[in-house]
Amino acid sequence: MVLAFVLPLLRVLVLSVTDPSVSLAHYRRIFTTPLYLHVLSTTFRTSLVVTAVCLLLGYPLAYVMARRGGRLSGILLVAIGISFWTSFLVRTYAWMVILGAKGPVAALMRLAGFSPPQLLFTTFSSMLGMTHILLPYMVMALYAVMKKIEPGHLRAAASLGAPPRHAFYHVFLPLSLPGVVNGCLLVFTLCLGFYVTPVLLGSPQDMMISQVIAQQVEELLAWGFASALSVVLLAATFVVIAVYTRLVGLDRLWG
């Protein structure tokens, strides 16, 4: 494991300060060039928005699955499972068809009488694709915690005279918070390093950091600079996880 994983990672660290010569120039360049600052802020903004939308969509879904049980919950679980296990390339491709210039959305818009705007290769399409792909992770994280919430607590609240809305806000919501934190951490960190979907669906003007890393190596062979960007991405991921560990504890991640 040390050989197969740590060594390649260390090489990235070393390259970031030695290629082509020993210096911290790459890091200085990242933090002083407007283009790279823009990339960093795009990456963080995109990850925040995607995480928030996933939470907004995922919470009711997980709630219904955990509270209803029975056939409905089974059907929803299968829907999430199918989406989760389908390769994300397949899911990205599906969005290319849907949002493409000859796709169904554009056709419907033309039918309604106005000319469709550019949908594909925009920040919107990239975020939509990422949300679609990461949503199952959020739902799983939420569901794992919600499933363990004792229904008796809610009944107790109701028997003490709390209307359903109060019972939800004061009992269920606080108890489900660990799931919210887990899900957000998972989606946010996955989103920070997302590569394939932004490349295929996103706009070239709003690149995520992973795209820049790949571009630097593949097109410019700029190993040192790509490595420095990787170290920045890695550091950002670690900071997010460190904050989480402080707040919750890493061992809680696996329930």
Binding site: L9, L61, L89, V90, A94, T189, G193, A214, L233, I241
Partner: protein, 256 residues
């Protein structure tokens, strides 16, 4: 009920976009056009006869199978050590084994691209298998160590006290109880490798190109309509597996 309605809408949002690729695979259109102008099976024939698609498909199966076996060979002993024994540096080992899950894939990919290149393993099956194994360890580890944590060690003690040696106990008592966990771990490792795109893009090269790499390139560079066939086949495989799991599960519930 409001939450149920929202939940159903979200579930439709998850599934509906995938269903659209099925009619696409029968389309006669050369580019992304929906609804399709006409239907035929031509792109299926093309997929099943074109070595540019078949070789990556075969590569993916070979690499995923080898990754699965290698991962199991590492993870089974490792989870025994981590679950059953206390030793110095245990938490460090634990963290190390989980690290590939935390480190962004592009960063790992960059590291492999550079390191495997130096070792002369870039663009070879062995290189991809090695990288995929490291990345599959955490997922398989989670499944297998969960099974091991739930294992009642008294079963082993009973077997030993009834005169079975450690090897026989392991083979006839420990393994059968852990089998479901190990199977799930194996499945995770296989699928993880089969679906993995980013690292494969960097290191697989021409010769060891995997199916996801080929799909990515075809979408990005040429939008080869065969991609819709491959996507449909992959999607239907998942749907069939889900229905199969549901059937088995239903029967088990029924029996219980």
């Amino acid at each position: 009920m409001f939450p149920v309605a929202v939940a159903l809408v979200v579930a439709v949002f998850l599934i509906a976009p995938l269903v659209i690729i099925v009619p696409m695979s029968f389309s006669t259109a050369l580019s992304l056009q929906f609804p399709p102008p006409g239907y035929w099976l031509g792109y299926y024939r093309q997929y099943f006869t074109d070595p540019r698609w078949l070789v990556p498909t075969l590569n993916s199966f070979v690499i995923a199978t080898a990754t699965m076996l290698l991962t199991l060979g590492l993870v089974i002993p490792a989870s025994f050590a981590l679950v059953r024994h206390q030793f110095r540096g245990k938490s460090a080992v634990n963290l190390l084994l989980m690290a590939p899950m935390i480190v962004p894939l592009v960063v790992s990919a960059l590291g492999y691209y550079n390191t495997l290149g130096r070792l002369g393993l870039a663009g070879t099956h062995a290189g991809v298998i090695l990288a995929h194994t490291a990345l599959s360890v955490p997922v398989a580890m989670l499944a297998i160590s969960a099974a091991l944590k739930g294992f009642d060690a008294n079963l082993e003690r009973a077997a030993m006290s009834s005169g079975a040696g450690p090897l026989r106990t392991f083979w006839w008592v420990t393994m059968p109880v852990l089998r479901p966990g190990i199977l799930v771990g194996a499945l995770f490792a296989f699928l993880h490798s089969f679906d993995e795109t980013v690292v494969a893009l960097f290191i697989a090269g021409r010769k060891a190109s995997t199916l996801p790499k080929k799909m990515f390139e075809s979408v990005r560079l040429e939008t080869d309509p065969v991609i819709s066939v491959v996507s449909t086949l992959l999607f239907l495989a998942v749907v069939l597996a889900a229905l199969g799991a549901l059937l088995v599960h239903g029967r088990r519930d029924h029996a219980a």
